[in-house]
């Protein structure tokens, strides 16, 4: 299964998805620039991504905890999600996300 990730410079990357991994972990494991400061604890919002509109309805809805963390991310849009809260599965084969402002490492 694959995911497509557009980085902060607009370049698109196709990454191999791994069942049960978090999308943040896949992006980080492939060496793309993602801060993910808290390591996936839904505590920092520095793995903020914009999910391609076609995929929004296919994701498990954000929990209150994720929505509250997203409040601390800059430039939140309707398609904002924390990539550490999206669990990779066959159903998400082809998922396209874009790394949002604030997700870049220093």
């Amino acid at each position: 299964m694959k995911i497509r990730v557009t980085d902060q410079t607009g370049k698109e990357h196709e990454l191999e998805g791994i069942e049960g991994w978090r999308v943040m972990e896949i992006i980080r494991d492939w060496g793309l620039p993602i801060k993910a400061e808290c390591g996936g604890a839904c505590s920092c919002a520095t793995c903020h991504v914009y999910v391609d509109e076609d995929w929004m309805d296919r994701l498990v809805p954000a929990t209150d905890e994720e929505l509250e963390m997203l409040d601390t991310a800059p430039a939140v849009e309707d398609n904002s999600r924390l990539s550490c809260q999206i669990l990779m599965s066959e159903a998400l084969d082809g998922l396209h996300v874009t790394l949002a402002p604030g997700s870049e490492p220093d």
């Binding site: 400061e37 808290c38 604890a41 520095t46 409040d71 800059p74 220093d106």
Partner: protein, 355 residues
């Protein structure tokens, strides 16, 4: 654990001058455990941290989240780990300089280091231990073009003196406790307060949310559910904040100042200016002494880099033990270092207050 046994940090007066053996930059788990390993070797330590409490990322980002890979603690929260470390290092009487960053270092004629903090505190020490994790916590900034030009004059991320906002038109951005608390506190001081949040849900304490909604209903302040769009006015003086609302479209809220409260993120900060070699924002060290490119300056925990480095609290703890052995040779150049175990050494047990 018993709360009564948790040691409160001994906070030094800001702006003072202090002399000690080691200054530790960063009071996260690894910085705290460094106090222990240094203390066993009779090396006294002062700690500097930008946060107002010890614990670093563990205490700030995930105080209530469970950690599962600390030896002998199958599960422990970030706050509990901090509390236990504070208890463990209490016998060594560490001195804390909290709420300030280590801004600059300078070598003295004696071959010691003078570390100056953002609060004007000076700590003179023989060795420096950098345990700054991912760097120092700094406020998250809204993604608005040119915001830096307004900072300090009309855009702020903290309130130092409420009176500075007397009679001003304020936009307060954010949906957490800081944003709501300051909106409620400043509404009686400012000419007008407008709270701007991107959704009509707030992660602040329910009591604060109720008070804010009552104040809005009573006409004492405004609430705008909208996204921040732009800053208006000739920098550094703000005249308005452009917002985009789904209901009411785009508009500019007249404002003399904006306060943005989006929490904290980590940046390397002033450590980058210490004159040490860096490797992609990390500090290269050797794996024998964890010493940096500058003799008698060490780096332990997530901020250091060496081949095979794993960013684990466990690794940081290990690094402090080896660092302390090397630090001893600077602090006590004429003394013989004898390796001892806490289980069997009466000398170590006396230091820990258990013998």
């Amino acid at each position: 654990m018993e709360n009564a046994r948790i040691a409160a940090p001994v906070q030094a007066e800001p702006g003072g001058e202090y002399r000690t053996d080691a200054v530790i930059v960063g009071a996260g788990p690894v910085g705290l455990f460094a106090v222990f390993e240094l203390g066993l070797l009779d090396i006294k330590a002062h700690l500097i941290d930008v946060l107002e409490v010890p614990g670093g990322q563990c205490a700030e980002l995930y105080p209530e989240k469970p950690i599962y890979d600390i030896p002998a603690l199958p599960v422990v929260t970030g706050q509990e780990l901090t509390d236990r470390l504070m208890q463990q290092i209490a016998p060594f009487d560490p001195v804390f300089h909290l709420g300030q960053t280590a801004e600059a270092i300078a070598k003295t004629d004696e071959g010691r280091w003078r570390v100056t903090t953002s609060a004007g505190t000076v700590v003179d020490a023989r060795v420096i231990v950098i345990a700054a994790g991912g760097g120092s916590f700094t406020p998250k900034k809204p993604a608005l073009e040119g915001i830096e030009a307004y900072e300090g004059t009309s855009v702020f991320y903290a309130v130092r003196k409420m009176d500075a906002f007397r009679g001003k038109r304020l936009v307060i951005a954010g949906g957490g406790d800081s944003a709501l608390d300051w909106a409620l506190n400043l509404k009686d001081v400012a000419e007008r307060v407008t709270l701007v949040h991107h959704r009509d849900g707030f992660r602040a304490a329910p009591d604060s949310v109720n008070k804010m909604r009552s104040a809005v209903a009573a006409g004492e302040m405004d609430l705008k559910i909208a996204k921040l769009q732009s800053l208006e006015g000739a920098a550094p003086q703000l005249t308005g904040v452009g917002v985009a609302s789904k209901e009411t479209g785009d508009e500019t809220i007249p404002a003399d100042a904006m306060l943005a409260f989006y929490g904290l993120t980590m940046k390397l900060g002033p450590v980058a200016n210490f004159g040490l070699n860096l490797h992609e924002n990390l500090i290269p060290v050797d794996t024998e002494k964890f010493e940096t490119s500058e003799p008698s300056i060490f780096a332990v925990g997530d901020i250091n880099w060496y081949p095979g480095k794993l960013k684990l609290i466990l690794s940081g703890f290990h690094e402090t033990a080896l660092m302390a052995q090397a630090a001893f040779r600077y602090v006590y150049p004429d003394a013989k270092l004898r390796f001892q175990y806490t289980t069997s050494s009466t000398n170590l047990q006396q230091k820990l207050g258990v013998a």
